[in-house]
Amino acid sequence: MAARTLTIDGKAVSAREDESLLEAAMEAGIAIPTLCHLEGVGDVGACRLCLVEIAGSPKLQPACVTRVAEGMEVCTDSERLRAYRRMIVELLFAERNHVCAVCVANGNCELQDVAVAVGMDHVRYDYLAPSCAVDISHPLFGIDHNRCILCTRCVRVCDEIEGAHTWDVAGRGTGARLITDLNQPWGEAQSCTSCGKCLLACPTGAIVRQGTTVAELQRDRSRLGWLVAAREKKQWNG
């Protein structure tokens, strides 16, 4: 495999010829924000956060699907790119109902992380506040479409790795929704193997394991009695 030498943000970088700009930048310690990218599955260039400027190219190019080339001069961080990234994250926050305070993924959410990284501290656009469904028909998992950003990681991980292709997208524009099988409730989707890869791939709190949401939190007070008995009466079988 031949190597290519290029410059990213003024830094000379060497990369394998089949590497993407995103991979080359990551290896060189240059962080480019992403949302739809997930290592191990194919890239689709959909979130547009990883757009970079390439000298000689009039158009911005997504780093995740652009191959490195000899002598390429790449800029991953300019005032224009920063402004665009911020606006894109704002658009995402305005699209559905991303209310961090009541989200299972709060503090462990890539959308949140990206918002911090690009400096998005408030949303200037109208919140579209759509009314989205929540599907908890699956015995183990659930999907809250209010938190989905349509990154299609779940679609790709299910198709490319599990080979089930349970997930896909139906509808278009802001009306697009993730669906399972032929738009059946997830619990009735026969192709689903319940492997849980979608759950692991989801960047937000859209796909969750049941029992982990705030509303489902239940305290088992009888455990207190058991613990007290164990401590005071040395009885371990309650």
């Binding site: 979130c47 278009r172 524009g173």
Partner: protein, 539 residues
């Protein structure tokens, strides 16, 4: 099939011609005004008058002046009747028989500028031949260019001819056709297969050029595809036609069947080693499937969404194989170029844009219909001379070209010649050829809002700027339209336009802001006039 047999079919067809021929338009526009019944009545009247030996009645493709349909024309002489009804049809036959009736439908002057200033290459046989009979096409030279290509030209010579002709893609972007063919010819796929795809997913509001070509002269498109397939080394073609064009699909299906039967499609065409099959794929109503990578996904049976380019379809298209995608009108230009030579074609048009372009005139214009004019014709000539201006004589305010991807060009720039570069310079695009004329009463903000509504509904939803940005743009435009927007909203509108234009994945999103940007550029006072009174007071 040999050339002699082809010639024999043409000769038989010519010999069967009767001295007088009454042509009745049976393309979609005229059919919707009862054209089929008019055709039947014409036939019945000829029979009733006992003129069947001298007069033939024949259904033909589009005669272009759709607003005056159903149109009926008589050969020889060219008497042209407008808005013929089943009831008034016998009067046309009576006039042919030399006994003009009082209730005869109105006649149009075939020498009026709308017809006289047109230059027909793509539409040369549209309106003069029966689109449902391959013999009619062969009688006017159909498939001769294919024969000539297969027996006298090498693929490289074909590509060279197309390159020298200067033909550029008629789908809108204007990519040099010869260069695209050469790329596909040179590309090697994983399994040696290559494909030719005809893009007939004409989705721009107000555009009906491709529909008309497919309905009026489908064999011309098939011949162009076959020549292209020979040049690039493909043996399978797909014609992707939008599902909203049932008549175009039916006529194309019929044309493919007829061509197969005569051995003009299929194996060993014209006894050469060249095989070429064409199948139809029907679009399911998504505008984005006119974008080539989305179209490919749709043909493959996947969800019709675009993917980032490169790789371009010319290298990696259908099922990963090199794929040539051209528009219907591009393919319709191929046979004439082979027949008349590239120099002939390159002699028409401007330095950078060769040949003719078909436009669909619509909106507030007297002559709604199809016009084909040489590249470089000014907008003023098209709108005022051919189009006849605004009905009733009011002034034209602007013309919108290129559909939702194009822009609005104000009347003061109507001396702009219609070619790829000039239209881009004034903030619009050639597009596929839709031309919507607007009079003084049109609100340009409303026009921009209309197109943005179209784009937000048609965005596939894959990339964020297009999916959500167009919705936000539409909300801002609605707010301005309602008179409740502020200066800050206008600034946000501009900023969002730039974002959507520069960061969207495919052409749909990248060009969606054009109607807004061009109206902001030429009609800023209309936006300013709609802003709320207390401008700047709200922070």
């Amino acid at each position: 099939m040999h050339l002699a047999e082809l010639q024999a079919i043409a000769d038989r067809e010519q010999a069967a011609r009767k001295p007088i021929r009454i042509r009745c338009c049976v393309a979609a526009g005229c059919l919707s005004s009862d054209g089929q019944a008019v055709l039947q009545q014409l036939g019945a009247a000829v029979e009733a008058a006992g003129l069947t030996a001298q007069v033939e009645v024949c259904g033909v493709g589009c005669m272009r002046l759709c607003s005056q349909g159903p149109l009926v024309q008589v050969d020889p002489g060219g008497a042209l009747y407008a808005k013929v009804t089943p009831a008034s049809a016998p009067a046309v036959v009576a006039a042919v028989a030399g006994a003009p009736a009082d209730d005869a439908p109105a006649q149009l002057d075939p020498a009026q500028p709308f017809f006289a200033r047109q230059w027909s290459i793509v539409l040369e046989h549209s309106g003069s031949i029966d689109p449902e009979r391959i013999e009619a096409s062969i009688a006017v030279g159909g498939y001769q260019a294919l024969y000539h290509t297969l027996h006298e030209l090498t693929p490289a010579e074909v590509i060279d001819a197309i390159t020298r002709s200067g033909l550029r893609g008629r789908g809108g972007a204007g990519y040099p056709t010869g260069l695209k063919w050469a790329t596909v010819a040179k590309s090697q796929g994983p399994d040696g297969r290559k494909f030719v795809v005809c893009n007939g997913d004409e989705g721009d509001p107000g555009a009906f050029m491709d529909r008309s070509v497919l309905e009026s002269d489908p064999h011309r498109v098939l011949e162009g595809m076959a020549i292209a397939a020979y040049a690039v080394g493909a043996s399978q073609g797909y014609a992707y036609v939008r599902g909203e064009y049932p008549l175009a699909i039916r006529r194309l299906e019929l044309a493919i069947r007829q061509a197969k039967k005569l051995g003009l499609l299929g194996s060993q065409i014209f006894d050469s080693a060249f095989d070429f099959r064409v199948d139809i794929r029907i679009g399911a109503g998504a505008f984005v499937c006119g974008e080539e990578t989305a179209l490919i996904a749709s043909i493959e049976g996947n969800r019709g969404t675009p993917r980032p380019r490169p790789p371009y379809p010319a290298e990696c298209g259908l099922w990963g194989c090199p794929t040539l995608i051209n528009n219907v009108e591009t393919f319709a230009n191929i046979a004439p170029i082979i027949r008349n030579g590239p120099e002939w074609f390159a002699g028409i048009g401007t330095a950078g844009s060769k040949g003719t372009k078909v436009f669909a005139l619509a909106g507030n214009i007297a002559n709604t219909g199809l016009v084909e004019v040489p590249m470089g014709t000014t907008l003023r000539t098209i709108v005022e001379e051919l189009g006849g201006g605004v009905p009733g004589g009011g002034g034209v305010k602007a013309v919108q070209t290129g559909g939702p991807s194009g822009g609005c060009i104000p009347e003061r720039l109507f001396d702009t010649p219609v070619d790829y570069e000039s239209l881009v310079k004034v903030g619009s695009i050639m597009g596929s050829g839709g031309m919507i004329v607007m009079d003084g009463g049109t609100s340009m903000v409303e026009v921009a809002r209309y197109f943005m509504e179209f784009c937000k509904d048609e965005s596939c939803g894959k990339c964020v700027p297009c999916r959500v940005g167009t919705v936000q743009l539409h909300r801002l435009l609605s707010k301005i339209q309602a008179g409740v927007a502020t200066e800050a909203d206008l600034a946000q509108l501009r900023e969002l336009c730039t974002l959507v234009k520069e960061t969207s994945l495919c052409g749909l999103g990248q060009s969606a802001p054009n109607p807004v940007l061009s109206t902001l550029r030429y009609f800023p006072e209309e936006y300013a006039g709609l802003l709320r009174g207390e401008v700047g007071s709200e922070q």
